[in-house]
Each structure stands twice: as structure tokens, then as C-alpha cells.
Amino acid sequence: MITKQRFLKSTRQIAMMVLIALVSLGGATGCKSKKNIAKDKAAAEYASKVEMAKKDLNSILDGTSTWSLAEKEQRFQTIKSWNLEDTEVQSLLDKVEDKLARDRADVQRKAEEERLRKEEETRLKSEANKYDPIENYFKAIAASPDAVTANEKIAGAMQLFSTPDVPVLIIISQAGGFNDYDRPTTISKYLDYLKDQKTYNSRVNQVKYDANNRISELELIKK
């Protein structure tokens, strides 16, 4: 009887131990599986980031990207912040960094060129406007409907000049580093010429003034 009880007790103990062992073993296996899934997921995410990084960096390099320079720079910084340990990505990052630096310099150069162009345009405009009073007289004389009106305009224009004999030089060509001139004339004759021919097809190129701020020499250039 006692032997039977001992046998039953031993059997219970063994069963309990087997159960504990099974529970322990089962729990450990489940934990390991979860870790594997997380690891696989992380690996997949990493691989996806690497792929995306390569794709984006290549599109920046070969110029197929439609992003603006600022967007490209932002994308570059984002990819760099991922710290991807992929040699191809690292190489692409280096190349893109160089390219972006060149693009940035190019944009800055173009902006500077544009600024200088606008500055030059403004300068030329003000330079051209500087001669407006003279030009306007010339155009008005050429457009006068009759000799009386033209003579009135000529009298007004003459006030701008030192004397009626102020030399007028007319450049007909500036090719090959040479200034080719027409036969020099005087302002008096030139104004009469405009009246007679009824056309003004030049522009003021250069003006010299005397001490009284009147024109002492005029250089025109044929349009």
C-alpha cells in the first residue's frame, strides 16, 4: 500500500516536473520567435531604407530628380542621418555631397550674374537716359512737320552746345576693333541735316562738356 502511494507520489512529482519543463520550454520558444520577427522586420526596414537611399541619391546624381536644390539638400541630410552602413550608399552620399556643393555654387554664381546683369542694365538705362534731352531734340527736329517748327527745335537744341561749330563725329562701324567714322561735321550742320532728311537713325555714344556744362564734342553711332 505504502509502495503504491509512493509510486503515485513519484508519478505526480514526475508529471509536475514534466509540466514545469514543458511550460518553461514553451515560454522560451515563444520569446525567441518574437525576437526573430522583430529582427527580420528591422532588417527589412533597413534594406528598404538602403534601396530608397540609393534610388534617391542616384536620381539626384543623374539629374532625373524633379526636386529643387533645397529639397535635394533636405533629402541628402535625411539619408545621411540614417547612418546606413552600406558602402554603396556611403559612396553615393559622397558624390551627392560634391554635386550639391557644385549646384549650390552654380546657383550662387547665376544669382550673382543676374544681379550684375540687372545692375549693368540699370546703369546702361541711366546712361542712356542721361542723353535723353539731346536725343529728344534730334528726334523732334527730324519729326518736325515743317521748316519753321524744325528751326524752333534747332534753336532750343543749340542751347545745349558751346558753339554752332561743336564737332560731331559719327561712328559708322566698330568692327574689328576699329572705329570707322563718317566725315566729321558740326552740330549746326548736323541739326540742319536732321531737318532736311527728316530722319534720325543714330544714338548718342559719347559727349564732352565744357566748363559751363555745355556740349563741346558729340559722338554718335549709327544704329
Binding site: A147, P167, L169, I172, S173, A175, G176, F178, N179, D180, Y181, D182, R183, P184, K189, D192, Y193, D196, Q197, K198, K208, S216, E217, K222
Partner: protein, 192 residues
């Protein structure tokens, strides 16, 4: 010292030579500019002829324009005059021609030049002068007091043009310029 003098002489000669070459062998752009300048002078003359012939031009203005027109010509240049009534072509000194034109005995005169173009391009002569021939057609119309057309003809005329490079001093600097001068104007054909 002697070597330096020789080198300097060679360099100087080359510079002179280059300068002369630059003047002789005109680039097409410069040649074009001179061609246009000569044509423009003929167009200027056309306008002057019209003003001088116009009966409404005041006498003083006409005389001033004659002076300007005369400056376009070489000294001694002549202008041919023809008419439908006679096969003879008479030649006048340009000043005489303009004065006769101003005094024509009609109440109204219209003179128009058209088809002004080169018949012979400007060619460089041994003395450096460029010579060419420009042809023009002149339509002359004369009217009486009532505005009736009395006489009309169209004359083809050839104008010899001479273009020479000259220099002058202006404001203390030497200015090289192309002097265009018109020579004789010959009548080639007159028709109604």
C-alpha cells in the same frame, strides 16, 4: 646696342605693315559699313534735290540746301540733264545744276529718286580709294498753276562714288574717317 636698334626697327616695320594691312584688307563688316555709307550719301542727295526743286521751299532754305548738296560732290563734278524733247544730254557743274533746278519755270515740281542701288561694287584702287557706281531712277514731274501735269519723265542715272580714308584732328586727337564723294552723274536713259 646695335642689335636692339635692329630689333626695334623690325618691330616698328611690322607694326606699320600691320596697320597698313588693317586698312587695306577691310573685313566684310567694315566694307559693308562703307557700302552703306555711300548709298546713304546718294539718298541724302535725293532728298536735297527734292527740296531744291520744290517750289514751296523758301529761297534762303534752298540756297542753304544747295550748299549742303554741293559738299557731297568732288570738285568739278558734273550732272547730266536730259529731256524727252531732245536726244542731247547736257552736263552742268553741280552748283549750276542745283541753281537751275531751283529756278525751273514751273508752278510745282516733284522729283523722286527710286531704285537706288549699286551697279558696280566699291573696288579698291591702287591709291587706296574705293570706287563704285550707283544707279538711280529719277521721276521728274512738273505742274502748272491749276495743278495740271505739264511734263513728266523718268531718267536712269549712274553716279560714280569715291570713298577714301582720311584723317583729321579733333580735340587734340587724330580721327580716321571715310570720306564719301560723289563724282559725275551720267544720264543713261530717259523715257516717259
Amino acid at each position: 646696342m646695335r642689335k636692339i636698334s635692329v630689333i626695334m626697327a623690325v618691330v616698328f616695320s611690322l607694326m606699320i605693315g600691320f596697320s597698313a594691312l588693317a586698312q587695306d584688307d577691310l573685313s566684310p563688316e567694315r566694307k559693308q559699313a562703307i557700302d552703306s555709307l555711300a548709298l546713304e550719301k546718294v539718298r541724302d542727295l535725293s532728298k536735297y534735290v527734292s527740296i531744291i526743286g520744290n517750289k514751296s521751299t523758301p529761297w534762303s532754305e534752298a540756297n542753304r540746301v544747295i550748299d549742303r548738296a554741293e559738299e557731297l560732290f568732288m570738285s568739278g563734278a558734273e550732272m547730266g540733264v536730259s529731256s524727252l524733247s531732245s536726244p542731247e544730254v547736257r552736263y552742268y557743274n553741280v552748283r549750276q545744276y542745283f541753281e537751275r533746278l531751283m529756278r525751273l519755270n514751273y508752278d510745282r515740281v516733284e522729283i523722286e529718286w527710286f531704285k537706288i542701288e549699286y551697279v558696280s561694287d566699291l573696288q579698291r584702287q591702287p591709291d587706296g580709294t574705293y570706287v563704285g557706281v550707283i544707279t538711280i531712277f529719277q521721276k521728274f514731274s512738273a505742274y502748272d498753276k491749276e495743278g495740271g501735269l505739264i511734263y513728266e519723265d523718268t531718267t536712269k542715272k549712274d553716279i560714280t562714288v569715291y570713298v577714301k580714308r582720311k584723317e583729321t584732328q579733333i580735340g587734340g586727337r587724330i580721327i580716321g574717317f571715310w570720306d564719301v564723294l560723289l563724282g559725275d552723274i551720267r544720264v543713261k536713259e530717259t523715257k516717259k
